[in-house]
């Protein structure tokens, strides 16, 4: 199955800007460990993964029924305001994804399967 993994909130972690350099590099090591664990795990492939810039940089685009486009400043909803990054990965099942994600910093994470719409 293919999963979108959203790092939606700091959870038990200190917000990134408040972390000391040591804390930040410890967190970076964990991201590296996650990459490595995915590479080593059979049946798992990390297809994409990016960190997101701050919520102030986000833009919401809405298109009305007449086709008029309106842009608004900021994220769509409060819940994704704290979203720091995402992964797209291929994995056999939910348990494997959860097991791999345990090496990451203790963020709140949403794990969402994708649907295959290719015909």
């Amino acid at each position: 199955m293919r999963y979108l993994v959203l790092l939606i909130g700091d959870g038990a972690e200190k917000p990134w800007p408040e972390q000391t350099e040591d804390e930040q590099s410890a967190a970076m090591e964990k991201f590296g460990a996650f990459d490595a664990a995915c590479r080593e795990r059979e049946g798992v492939e990390l297809l994409a993964g990016e960190a997101l810039s701050g919520p102030d940089d986000a833009t919401v685009m809405r298109t009305s029924s007449e086709g008029r486009v309106a842009l608004t400043d900021g994220p769509y909803a409060e819940v994704i305001e704290g979203m720091g990054g995402f992964y797209l990965l291929e994995a056999p099942d939910l348990d494997v994804v959860v097991e791999l994600l345990r090496v990451l910093p203790r963020y709140d994470i949403q794990i969402h399967p994708t649907v295959d719409v290719t015909l």
């Binding site: 199955m1 999963y3 056999p92 348990d95 097991e99 794990i111 399967p113």
Partner: protein, 402 residues
């Protein structure tokens, strides 16, 4: 048939990943059996017959779904597992049991809501019909059917595996199996709402579920402690209600307790499995079971060792503090050290939307002769009580205040 249900579901799931098809196919096979066996005679290997019939139905369905022959292997689990399955069918060794464990762990997966996990376990592992599960959980049958369907869809959609997890996670997962089982048990043992004081058949099913898992993992401390706890509580079922009325522990006819179950429960508690270090959940079950055992083994209510029970509650509150345990401890304190000590132990104790703290306070106030305060506490308890039998009991108690 019911004993074989979980094993057959597990075996079919190990060969086809389609949870939706597997259960329907097995249902159809059972239905066909009920039509043909009375006329043709029961086959030598009834489970094998059902398995073959159900498999044929799954394959039929896959074909009618337009799945071309070349795509069929994709719907089967990996070849390795298929071989395992084939071997299992031949020698009926322990691999079948692994499949049942996979099924149990899938039904009680932490990514499922606890009520859904309980209902799904009764349906898939024990083969309890959906109509009966609905009755046991006091919801209309369509509601329960929808809940079970949603849970099954979620298993497929979220990618909840039919697998035994890594040894590092397995104890946690078995703890969740135990919690799911106990949730089903308490839904039957102490229904919060409705006309019945207890629904012993649901509690009985929960005990059966624990026995299935223990059949696979006999040395799992959480399940051993849980089975002991459930047996010791369940053993009193026939004495807890008389003529539709609640009978307090002290007034119960101890001859009507199931002493074989008490013996089994106490034997489990002293066994080697619980002798070593255990998880907080296991410790909490074991302590509650020891408390139940103190009651169950006292020859008369007057012989109850309330001092030991208070000590066990003190330990329980260290391992797993809860308002319900504090309340029960206050009752024990009142018996052991007197009404005033019991009332002091109740100080500041509240359980949201529960009538029990007020009911206990009322009883203790009545004993201490403070009739007015007792009446006020009974009023409070009666207003908060959602169970018909218990409310009637409280009303009678209030009347006897005079």
């Amino acid at each position: 048939m019911r004993q074989e249900w979980g094993r057959l579901v597990a075996l079919l799931l190990s060969q086809f990943r389609r949870l939706d098809l597997v259960e329907d196919a097995l249902g159809d096979a059972v239905e066909a059996a009920s039509r043909t066996w009375p006329a043709d005679g029961t086959p030598d290997n009834p489970a094998g017959w059902l398995m073959t019939a159900a498999k044929r139905r799954v394959l039929d369905r896959l074909r009618t779904e337009g799945v071309a022959q070349r795509k069929l292997p994709m719907l089967l689990t990996d070849a390795e597992h298929r071989e395992e399955g084939a071997r299992t069918m031949a020698d009926s060794g322990s691999l079948v049991e692994d499949d049942v464990l996979r099924l149990v762990l899938m039904c009680a997966h932490p990514a499922l809501a606890p009520e859904a996990a309980g209902a799904l376990s009764l349906r898939l592992v024990l083969g309890v019909p959906t109509a009966d599960i609905a009755r046991l959980f006091l919801v209309p049958e369509p509601t329960m059917a929808a809940r079970i369907t949603r849970a099954k869809k979620r298993i497929v959609g979220a990618g909840i595996p039919f697998a035994v997890p890594d040894a590092a996670v397995l104890p946690d997962r078995l703890d969740i199996v135990a919690q799911t089982t106990y949730l089903a048990f308490t839904a039957g043992y102490a229904p919060g709402t409705g006309p019945d004081l207890l629904r012993a058949d649901l509690s009985g099913e929960a005990i059966r579920l624990a026995r299935v898992v223990l059949g696979l993992r006999p040395d799992e401390p959480a399940l051993v402690a849980l089975l002991a706890l459930m047996l010791l509580q369940h053993s009193r079922r026939d004495a807890r209600v008389r003529d539709g009325r609640l009978v307090l522990l002290a007034d119960q006819d101890r001859g009507r307790w199931h002493h074989d179950e008490i013996a089994e429960g106490t034997r489990l508690l002293v066994g080697p499995v619980l002798a070593g270090p255990v998880t907080p959940l296991t410790a909490s079950y074991a302590l509650q079971a020891r408390i139940a055992a103190e009651h169950a083994t006292a020859p008369t209510a007057d012989d109850t060792r309330w001092d030991r029970i208070v000590g066990l509650y003190d330990l329980l509150l260290q391992v797993s503090p809860s308002p319900a345990a504090r309340l029960a401890r206050a009752v024990a304190v009142a018996e052991d050290r007197g009404t005033a000590a019991g009332l002091a132990a109740l100080e500041g104790l509240e359980i949201p939307s529960s009538h029990r703290p007020a009911a206990v306070r009322a009883e203790l106030l009545a004993r201490s002769g403070d009739t007015d305060a007792a009446r006020a506490a009974y009023d409070q308890a009666i207003a908060a009580c959602g169970n018909d039998v218990e409310r009637e009991f409280l009303e009678r108690q209030r009347e006897t205040l005079g």
